[in-house]
């Protein structure tokens, strides 16, 4: 299942390329367009690129939600998934297999975004060891969001419905601390939304590796939330799968 999931991604570049390119485009636009924000008192770095690059990894992970959901929905729509359910394969293996391609894609994106960021002048304070922490965090986040994609696919069985959820996830992404640190957000309602939005903490954990180096609190929150997201989404996906089998 894992090999199939990886081969599928490799064979369908049209599905993968937007999820790799679009976050880079938004990074480039924001880095050029919002560099003036670094002049604000209290802004944590003098390079908006260094500040914004953390968001790129999360955006890519949200795209991977769609990839996972879309692939599974396609299998459900064409009946392949029903046949898989009839085999003695364990449900957890089915889930893990579906997500393997995403984790590999996440690692490719991590290397690519880091390379592009460093080439464009971003700083990565955490150094070489930080890369491994970044890769681990991105994997966990990919699994968490991928699990959400699986839930949507299992429950709806429709690729169109999975695509329809994308704007909702995108909204979550925007109402976070993606463009400014939370303490610099002036509007109270927006700062509140960014504070209760778990995406903020995922962005801030990755951002801390670029700006601060090793920030224990940000990393603990990032790993904690992404771990919880992964556990919850996979559990719900497994539960939804049982429900689907009963039907």
């Amino acid at each position: 299942m894992a090999a199939r999931s990886i081969a599928r991604l490799v064979r369908q570049p049209a599905m993968v390329i937007p999820s790799v390119i679009f976050p880079l485009f938004l990074l480039a636009v924001n880095a050029g367009g919002l560099n003036a924000a670094t002049e604000l008192p209290g802004f944590p770095t003098d390079s908006y690129l260094t500040f914004a690059i953390g968001f790129t990894f999360i955006q890519a992970a949200i795209f991977s939600t769609m990839n996972a959901g879309q692939s599974l929905a396609q299998d459900i729509e064409n009946g392949f998934f029903s046949r898989l359910l009839l085999t003695p394969m364990r449900q957890s293996a089915l889930m893990a297999g579906q997500l393997a391609g995403l984790v590999i894609l996440g690692q490719f994106q991590t290397l690519l975004y880091l390379a592009v960021g460093l080439a464009a002048g971003a700083e990565f304070e955490a150094g070489v060891a930080g890369y491994f922490v970044l890769a681990a965090l991105v994997s966990l986040i990919s699994i968490g969001f991928g699990g959400i994609g699986l839930i949507m696919a299992i429950r709806t069985g429709s690729g169109e419905a999975v695509q329809g959820m994308f704007p909702l996830l995108f909204v979550l992404l925007f109402f976070s601390s993606m463009t400014l640190p939370r303490n610099l957000i002036e509007q109270d309602w927006y700062r509140f939304l960014a504070t209760v939005n778990p995406i903020s903490y995922l962005i801030e954990a990755i951002r801390s590796l670029f700006i601060a180096g090793w920030d224990g609190e940000a990393l603990a929150l990032g790993f904690g939330i992404s771990g919880l997201l992964a556990v919850l989404s996979i559990s719900f996906a497994a539960r939804s799968l049982k429900g689907r089998m009963l039907k």
Binding site: V29, G33, Q187
Partner: protein, 256 residues
Amino acid sequence: MNATYFSAAWAVAWRYLHNLYTKPAVLIPGLVFPLFFLAAFAGGLSAVGDAPGFDYYDFTAFQFCFVLIQASTLAGVFVGFSIAADFEQGMGRRMMLATSNRTAIVLGYALGAFLRLFLVWFIVTGVALLAGMKVAGDGYDLVGMYGLAVFANVAALLFSAGVALRFRSLQAGPLMQMPVFVALFLAPVYVPQDLLTGWIEPAARVNPFTALLNAGRSLLEGEPTGILLAYAVAAGMIVLMGFWAITGLRRAEVAG
């Protein structure tokens, strides 16, 4: 062009509006997205208005102008989706059989989009005013600003119609949406043009949407500058995209 021509155009426009009314899933994204961008940019980035060199009078107004142009442009793009869907379902061919001068079909969609635009403007402007946006320009300035939004809408509509008529499939949706989305974000979205840095600065300089945005913002501020340039650029876009749409229509006619 005679009464039959306009009657056909009106029938297409009416059908388009009727579809919008009966299918909220088609109408709502075009209303929700601009509001979402207005909330995300005006709310989340208001501190950027305090950055040195940011001399616009009101940050919400600054973002409103972008959202207005964006909403008007996307409203035009969404028409392309409707055209593609009509051709996919065979309705497009039937409309072409029923119309002697097929430009009436494009005109009909344009009329429908224009009427839809009023609803988008009403909601986006209402929300911006409720959010505390200050309007410094007078009535003439505002007419000029909304006029620019109409031009942006027509240009985007003709562009997406050209794509839709060439591909006649909803699968061409990204080809209609992505170039417009990219062009919009390569304009000075977050800060005035003078504060842009890096590669986006030269990109914004040659981007036609920059002229529209700068002029629109100056009108909203009540200090109009670059208006003639903006209207000339917008008119140029309409002529170019009109040619693109008409040649697309000819291809659809040839395809039968």
